[in-house]
Symmetry: C2
Subunit: 249 residues, 2 copies
Amino acid sequence: MSDSASCLVAKLSNFAELTEEDQRLLAKLEKDTRSYPTNHSVFRGGESVEHLYVVKRGWLFSSATLEDGRRQVMAIHNPGDIIGLPHLPFRSSLHDLNTCTPVELCPFPKDSLDTILVRSPRLTALLFAFSMVEQAVLFDRLQAIGRMRARERVCHLLLALRSRLRLTNDVEKGFSMPLKQAVIGDALGLTNVSVSRVMTSLEQEGVLTRGASWLWIHSPDELSEHVEFEERFAHLDTSWFPKESSAST
Amino acid sequence: MSDSASCLVAKLSNFAELTEEDQRLLAKLEKDTRSYPTNHSVFRGGESVEHLYVVKRGWLFSSATLEDGRRQVMAIHNPGDIIGLPHLPFRSSLHDLNTCTPVELCPFPKDSLDTILVRSPRLTALLFAFSMVEQAVLFDRLQAIGRMRARERVCHLLLALRSRLRLTNDVEKGFSMPLKQAVIGDALGLTNVSVSRVMTSLEQEGVLTRGASWLWIHSPDELSEHVEFEERFAHLDTSWFPKESSAST
DNA sequence: CGAGGTGTTGAGTCATTTCAAGTAGAGTGG
DNA sequence: CCACTCTACTTGAAATGACTCAACACCTCG
């Protein structure tokens, strides 16, 4: 993980060797950088999406809103994430994208992917694998929302956030957590009020400590047994990947 | 959609031209066929998964169960579906897989995909796109569970099922629906009791007609406005696909 | 210092669950 | 072919977890 390496390269390198060529292909996705302020709407659901985005800095979330205002937060995005893959096969974006903090994004056009698809089957496989990991995380949240009580849901989300951040940050002594309780609620099918009650009670019980946009989970292992949280970023099975980039051999 | 064409080829052909080579690559995935009876467990979460499966005939569902027995149904699988892509990057399967009807599956090993990845970037893109459509459907269900009332959730699921089946069946005058209410409930974060109440009331109001393992939604258009259901299988944007299979040119 | 956004806390309400009993239907064996 | 059994579904009554509404506290930022 050299200084010049992007978050994306850093994240992906955790799971598979990247060739020079692969790194070059990824670097092209991060050519441009755009900045956005806090609480800014990057795009809205229904708008046509020509670009995908690599998150360079900051937090964002994707959400969809029903006509009467009920909102569901679909995903929370951190540095190193690629935003927009689910929109790929659609003409217009599925969700709104909003910033939680000041953000730097690297937009790249959809069809930049075709070079990767043609030149590096192995990198393609890695991106696909990562996309499936995202989907696994989504399944876990589906289970949390569908079958867990408010308290379990909140714990589950906090553990999931921590697990994500651990790929690129040190989280042992706490980590930055700029999400508003209303956003957490909308991610979990709860109200901000319920989230507040749970968080307060968790803090009183000594499970965690809160600061301004900051959170410390004291004993994640203990907590994760209690709420049946599953680590999804631990290890990727890459055995089925093509052996080499066909183009580079 | 010729007689010899598989459900998978039929489904994918709806969205992009498949070359001879692509069809041959897909056909290889359906070489073997295995049969399973109703209510049979194909595999359990945690077992190692060497294979993916193409559904040739019948209905199945994937689910995960918490220690105390609470169950979440993650996905419902119909003919033409590929089962197991989300498990791909993991050593062991994420979910249980169970049959709802007698079923025929075509198992193929994970690394069969590498030929596709290397030989046909275009088919790879199509599979990826389809996988993203699945994810979009998952997002929709997340919203349903997180932010809709029981009645809306059930309507939403019924419309989603109908929309899936429409790819391969005629659903205008009703369709086969072998899911038990407990399964529907577990897919929606409800109890079988709530599902029963909703279904009964929908039938009384003339929204639908039920028969033995059979369902007719009278006016899906009207219903879908009422519950904000979004059709995801209508059209794929394939503009970003690589132009040709690199290997076949 | 004031203002607006964010989080907290309490009281009352409501949708869904839980529990329980009963009905209907499909499949099985005599 | 009928009785039996098991499972799925239905229906009602009571319990409950989360929501709504509302007031208030806190903090940040201008």
